[in-house]
Amino acid sequence: MSINGKGTPVNSRSSRNDDAPLLEIRDLAITFDTQNGPVNAVRNAHLTIMPGETVAIVGESGSGKSTTALAAIGLLPSNGRVSGGQIIFDGEDITNVSEKRIIELRGNSIGMVPQDPMSNLNPVWKIGFQVKETLKANGLDDGNSKARVAEVLSEAGLPDAEARAKQYPHEFSGGMRQRALIAIGLACRPRLLIADEPTSALDVTVQRQILDHLDRMTTELGTAVLLITHDLGLAAERAEKVVVMYKGQVVESGPALEILRNPKHPYTQRLVNSAPSLSSRRLQSQKAKDVLAAAVEDIEESTPDVGDGAHPAPVHVSHATPSSEARKPAGKGDTILEVKNLTKEFKLRGALGKSSQFKAVDDVSFTVKRGSTMAIVGESGSGKSTVAQMALSLLAPTEGSILFDGVEVNTLKGKALFDFRRRVQPIFQDPYGSLDPMFNIYRTIEEPLKIHKIGDSKSREKKVRELLDQVSMPAATMHRYPNELSGGQRQRIAIARALALNPDVIICDEAVSALDVLVQAQVLNLLNELQEDLGLTYLFITHDLAVVRQIADQVCVMQNGRIVEAASTDEVFNNPKQTYTQDLLNAIPGATLLV
């Protein structure tokens, strides 16, 4: 069995003391020393992992889940320290163990697979080198390390491992990098693997492949896994036990399915309700409740848990019309955005000045009705963001046309383009990157008004207040700066900024992907309400089908630059025609658990 490391039989290792816990965390407290005094990041955390078992810690960012796991491998940031409790690994108290001993344990006994494959491999060393040094550091370099490196990499599912080992990280895709990191984490056959959000930076289908592979490997090797994730669905699918953390404390723990079906703590209940991957199939009714309010209560009641298209797009639109402003022409539900045979080619620079054409978007056509939401779904590299950029007229198409309200966008110049910009606004993925850190919130929201010379400073201030109110932020926020706000708050500001010019269409490029599930649910609800109140049209670019289920009326599925399937949301979810779409749906973690 090639899986065995250095002739050590796997079974004898894991069967040594199967009854005793492999990792036990008792009343763990972790304190960070900050400029504003000590902060208790984790309090009274406790969890137990038996040999070979998979345990998941679930929580939102800042809940202390990663901190707890990092403490177990002695990797707390330099200002963090264990201020109470015990960490016992294989019967040994490693809470305050010496640097020497923890280095012995790392790699050999406790491995780690980190979160972001893009930043966790050293960009200046070859992949093979980075695997080899792991073997070497843990005394497993038996002089035949080249073959061993290739073996370890191919076990992790990397094809053509020997050649790949000679490449640098930047020559790998995200999925391949994560496989390399898994290879590194498991290279020395640790008894415990800490997997810190191992796939959250990856596409859903890649995520599934990688998790399946990780599952298989750890099962074969008898490795226990401590899985850190923000996704309850994923945790329930992959782990035997789930520990839910909230604000530094363990609020609930137990068998995975038990927690999912019968959450006791209010936080867990909220988490179960908002987890897009879990609830997408019934969050439809949740959404109906939010959007349609009392007027269509009967529809909501008749809607069973499994969404069945009980509220088709027209309901939205007719509901939206009364509150629509005068500038909107009479034709409600007419086409506002029409994309015809859109194609974008990029020139790829090859060796020796040769270049080749790369079709990022290939013959894409769709129409978006006023007041509705069109989602474009696809994996990274499918061309969906390129479509968004062309729709925003930030990128010129190679061929094809984009008609906005009947006018060709490509040929717009000067004043006409300026007016178009006012009517179509973007919200981008990264709320940390899309707000200018040197602008306070007031200036951020006011800027578009100023650029378009709308109102005087007094009326603009009033408008900013209104906008902040619309996105449920206190007016006092306007004097603060982006770095003082949380991710969800920043995204609300980005929405307020997009709304400032009363646009007709908002293009959301992965607008909620960077947010925690609960925050994501809040922002999606907000977007829904705004659509309701202002008659907005959304073009929603996302890789997350669970999000699509919650917000979209129509869906286009993109693959390799082409639209492979286009239909209503319900149609796509209930009756996917393409295997690619089916793969995407199946890849939603936990999708099949509750239904």
Binding site: I73, L75, P77, E99, I103, E104, L105, R106, G107, N108, G111, M112, P114, Q115, D116, S119, N120, L121, N122, P123, V124, W125, E133, T134, A137, N138, Y168, H170, L181, I184, G185, C188, R349, L352
Partner: protein
């Protein structure tokens, strides 16, 4: 990579012509008549003056002067100084001295700069770090001529550890003190740059991953932090080599080093276009080549960078 290097050398051509033209014009436009200065302000026979003007092409309009200079350059004739020496000979004497001085200064700032920077970066906020930070700030703030004279007085005169001034042949050992003074300000920058780079990379995700693999602290620092941190430092050092060679005027003045700085200063004072342009032209080439070496080193340090 070969294409890249060739292209970069081709870029030298417009840079060289542009720089020499500019320098030639600046010397031309400097107020004062070089011939009058040559005679020390005493009256000169009109025939002698006319002959001198003709000899140095000073009777020609500016474009003609520059053109004639270029024509001579093609035949590798750099012209003569006003005292009748071949410019080529003068430069051949001065450049090796300055090159020696600059290389010693560069080695000094690279070695101690990276060493102190790494230690300070790894022990951010500790005593060593704070001391180095304050000291480097002092060095940056105090002008070179003050540092130079102080060190000359203390090390050269009071302690007698080194010759206060350099002798005519400027051997290596006599250049140690001037090189130290010349490299001191850059040393302070290298320390600060390395320190910032190290402490930034220490928090990089891949460093944590390297630690999680079970590597020793030493290996993490040397293999994973140092190489990545050196990228900006190498850029600075490369660009600084040109600066050290051209900017040694003050240091060379203090220690009486017979190098390019002194030569250039005298030539500018006399309005000797031929000497000034030749010295600056070579400095331009040194700059460009140093930058090319930096770019090649850069790509060696960081495989993500391609030659475009």
């Amino acid at each position: 990579m070969v294409m890249f290097t060739i292209r970069r050398f081709l870029q030298l051509i417009p840079v060289f012509f542009g720089a020499t033209l500019l320098v030639y014009f600046l010397v031309f436009a400097t107020p004062g008549d070089p011939i009058a200065a040559l005679s020390g302000g005493k009256p000169m026979a009109p025939a002698v003056e006319a002959a001198l003007r003709a000899q140095y092409n000073l009777d020609q309009p500016f474009w003609m002067q520059y053109f004639l200079y270029l024509k001579n350059l093609v035949t590798l004739n750099l012209g003569q100084t006003f005292s009748g020496q071949e410019v080529a000979d003068v430069i051949a004497r001065a450049y090796p001295v300055t090159a020696r001085l600059a290389i010693m200064a560069l080695a000094f700032e690279a070695f101690f700069g990276i060493l102190f920077g790494v230690i300070a970066g790894l022990r951010k906020g500790k005593l060593f770090d704070s001391t180095v930070l304050v000291a480097s700030l002092v060095v940056i703030a105090v002008p070179t001529f003050v540092l130079g004279f102080v060190l000359q007085l203390v090390v050269g005169v009071k302690l007698g550890w080194a010759r206060p001034t350099v002798s005519g042949t400027a051997p290596w050992n006599e250049l140690i003190l001037p090189a130290l003074v010349l490299g001191l300000v850059s040393l302070a920058y290298v320390i600060r740059l390395t320190r910032a780079s190290i402490s930034e990379n220490m928090n990089a995700d891949y460093v944590r991953t390297a630690t999680a693999k079970g590597l020793s602290r030493r290996r993490v620092v040397v293999v994973h932090i140092l190489r990545n941190s050196l990228i900006p430092v190498v850029t600075f050092l490369g660009a600084d080599l040109g600066g050290l060679m051209g900017g040694a005027i003050v240091t060379e003045g203090i220690f009486n080093v017979p190098g390019v700085g002194n030569l250039l200063f005298q030539a500018i004072k006399k309005g000797e276009s031929a000497t000034v342009v030749a010295v600056v032209g070579i400095l331009v080439i040194v700059f460009v080549v140093a930058n090319l070496v930096v770019d090649l080193l850069y790509a060696w340090l960081d495989p993500r960078i391609r030659y475009v």
